[in-house]
């Protein structure tokens, strides 16, 4: 959930602050609902969420192209609600690159320097340095239309950095690239961001991108931040069923809490089986809950089951060989979309469809979350 309260003092921890920000385009629905977020200097923060969850809107408010309906946005402790975009000094990379088609690459890069009235020789040096930084030193004379998508992406990045902003916003900058190029660019962007020590607010709907690039990820849904945490926390300790479902692969079992004490609880599944789980956002006996277990945390080798751990009977429905791992689909407690992933090792059993096995897990890998609406 939202971590940062409005009471924190401005400092390096509060380079960018959203303070109770709301946004409505039409005066009827709130697209961003009570956003509180603070980004420390030098952080790589990613806004991750499904399409329409309000990520772009947040970024646009920060850049100054949209005004917050209420609340305050602060940059370096200063309220910037009324500062026009061109005075904010924020670098920005757009999804479709927005390279000016009538200028050459070098002219594109020189543009922010020219409007800042930087002298010609210094301008040229900076442009060349920025081009070299994205390994596009040779391409200054070309027109954007003469570049491939990946090259345009690099130029857009260089242009957003050439005037040395402290804060750079990127709105799905890799959305139009193919997978391999995307991975390469992910690496480059993080490398450059760390080298320059800039603060980055990055928007994506691709969870892998978010996990691999970010210091922290803010998961958006329905205009709210669902969880703000480091990638590993997000993956391993999802705070609610939306995050668990949105990040990574996840097995779900529905049930009701029958006993709860401290760090563990007992959940009676709808099939009647009982299991141990770690209570995350269930509070009392009788709560409906969604059990969440990552496929790679499910154990099938009886020797490795912990003493006294609950296990469930399962029937193998499908076995898929994927090279580095095996992916086995099971019917567990009435759900037949239960998936387990096992490492391809010589001693690993390849379960044949139709066989019956026993599955188990550590109680701390099995999280009792809120039950989504209507279940």
């Amino acid at each position: 959930m939202a971590e940062t309260g409005p009471l924190k003092l401005a400092g390096t921890d509060d380079f960018v602050v959203f303070d109770g920000v709301q946004k409505s385009y039409d005066g009827i629905t709130l697209v961003v609902k009570d956003l509180n977020l603070s980004v420390p200097k030098g952080e790589f923060l990613t806004m991750l969420g499904p399409s329409g969850s309000g990520k772009t809107t947040c970024l646009m408010m920060l850049a100054g192209f949209e005004t917050a309906t209420s609340g305050e946005i602060r940059l370096k402790g200063r309220n910037i609600n009324t500062v026009p975009p061109h005075k904010r000094g924020i670098g920005m990379v757009f999804q479709n690159y927005a390279l000016f088609p009538h200028m050459s690459v070098a002219e594109n890069l020189a543009f922010p320097l020219e409007v800042r009235k930087i002298g010609k020789s210094e301008r040229e040096a900076k442009v060349q340095r920025a081009l070299d930084m994205v390994q596009m030193g040779e391409f200054g004379g070309r027109r954007p239309a003469q570049l491939s998508g990946g090259q345009q992406q690099r130029i857009a990045l260089a242009r957003a950095l050439v005037f040395e902003p402290e804060l750079v916003l990127m709105d799905e900058p890799l959305g139009a690239l193919d997978k391999q190029l995307r991975e390469q660019m992910q690496f480059e962007i993080t490398r450059i961001a760390h080298d320059l020590g800039i603060t980055v607010v990055y928007v994506t709907h691709d969870q892998t991108e978010a996990l691999t690039m970010s210091d922290r990820v803010a998961v958006f849904n329905d205009g709210r931040i669902q969880q703000l945490a480091s990638p590993s926390d997000l993956y391993e300790h999802p705070a609610n069923s939306f995050v668990a479902q949105f990040i990574g692969e996840n097995n779900r079992l529905m049930g009701t809490v029958t006993r709860i004490d401290g760090g563990t609880c007992i959940v009676r599944l709808d099939s009647g089986d009982e299991i141990d789980a770690k209570p995350i956002n269930v509070s009392k006996v009788g709560d409906r809950t969604q059990i969440s277990i990552r496929p790679e945390r499910v154990e099938t080798n009886k020797d490795r089951f912990r003493q006294g751990a609950h296990t469930l009977q399962a029937e193998v429905l499908e076995f898929i060989y994927m090279g580095d791992i095996f992916r086995t689909r099971l019917r567990v407690a009435g759900h037949d979309d239960f998936v387990i992933k096992t490492r391809n090792a010589p001693d690993q059993i390849r379960h044949q469809p139709g066989t019956r096995i026993e599955v188990g897990w550590l109680p701390e890998d099995c999280r009792a979350l809120d039950a989504p609406q209507g279940t």
């Binding site: 026009p84 061109h86 757009f94 479709n96 927005a98 543009f111 409007v115 957003a160």
Partner: protein, 544 residues
Amino acid sequence: MTDHTASAAALSADGMPLKRSLNRALRRQKLRAFVLIAPLLVFVLFTFLAPIGDMLFRSVENQIVSETLPRTVKALADWDPASDAPPGEAAFRALGHDLVIAVERKTHTRLGSRLNYEASGMSSLLRSTGRDVEDIGEDVSAALGALDPAWTEAATWVDLLADPAWIAEQAAWSASGNRSGEPAFRLSDTASSALPDTAEIYGSFARITQQENDRSPTRQDPWHLVAITLVEEITATPSAAQAFQGDHALRLAAIAQADLPATDFVAAFGASNDRWATPTPWAVIAMYSAPYTPGYFLNAVDLGKTPDGIAPRPVEEQVYILLFLRTMWLSLTITGLCLLLGYPVAWLLANLPSRQANLLMILVLLPFWTSLLVRTSAWKVLLQRQGVINDVLVWIGLISDDGRLVMINNQLGTIIAMTHILLPFMILPLYSVMKTIPGTYMRAAKSLGANDWSAFWRVYFPQSVPGIAAGSILVFILAIGYYITPELMGGARGVFISNRIAYHIGTSLNWGLAAALGTILLLVVLVLYWVYDRFVGVKNVKFG
């Protein structure tokens, strides 16, 4: 791939060269495409290319002189139009011949109008001499009749000069009682070889009598010109009489012996109009005798041919250069105004939410739903001295009642009304180009530190240039050929070249000059287009 296979022509599966089988496959498609455009192609051919071709042709075409006065043109070939004496007797005689025929065909008035474009007075001169020329040689006919009354009979002439076979056919036709379809006249071989000049002129007479006047040569007295020619020919070669038999030989010999005086065409023309004694009318005929002439074009740029070469027209006749310049200048002004007024509107259209944009679009298109004439008349009502605008200005006291502004019947009227009428042609191309410029460019520019103005000027404006180019060329080319609005709003000083073209087509009927003016206008547009291509680049023109 080895060199061998790379250089050999690629073959398709059935061993045919790939290129050929591809062409074969494409032929059907091409044929279908052609059939689809064929109606339009035919339409364009007949309604656009053919008229333009006709216009180009008419602007230089001048066959009327050589067709109407073929003998005169030939006789004047050796005469120098710059000389200060009229040509020799032969030219007068040739013009006499040509005019008799032209008068019979009633083509001499058209020739008069044509030559009048080049030198005023030619029309009346030809008309008055046309009336007199038929009487030249009256005395010769009378002398012949005195010599032998048979010469006053049409039948004598027919018998002398017509093919006997034709005479028989004609008699049979006459006996049959038919009212129409008399056999076409044919000359006899004897006459043609013995009396070639007489035969030729009589042949013309017979043909014109039959075809143009729908009469029979057997019942019509020949022109005096035939008598003149016969007398002169037989006097010059009396032996020609021996080719004929019986009465004809005797009658012809009698003429040869009578030694009748030759007809003096010079005196006859002088008697009709003393201007024929000066070189001027002859020079006009000689200068415009070629079947193709630059005369219309010279006229269209205020020049004219004189015996001493090409020279400017008299100052009071110089209108066209001024009109061309004014047309260019006003069209440019109108284009500039349209751009100034249209650009912000197009920008709004492209950037407003679609509901408001649609409403605005309807407002922009509204003028298209009312007739051009109605809109122009509305401007008249607004702008005239007692019009709405002047009334309002007087009422609020900005101008006095005597100081009412003159906004109509001058260039201002033309500019105001045409800017309004042509505005949509600027807005629409601008709009369709602006529609394709994503808003992110402006945002990107601002995020890079540009203020609103430099974001617009450095990023948005250059991308809208293709729309400006398209709109400007559209408006300019439409304006340059505009006609109704300048006619109604422009008064004397606000009219365009097209008004003059319309005048020559509709009123003065000088189509050649109208065609030359139109051709120059077309050329000017093409040259401008070329210049425009050099500087803006036609590939930069985008309509969407």
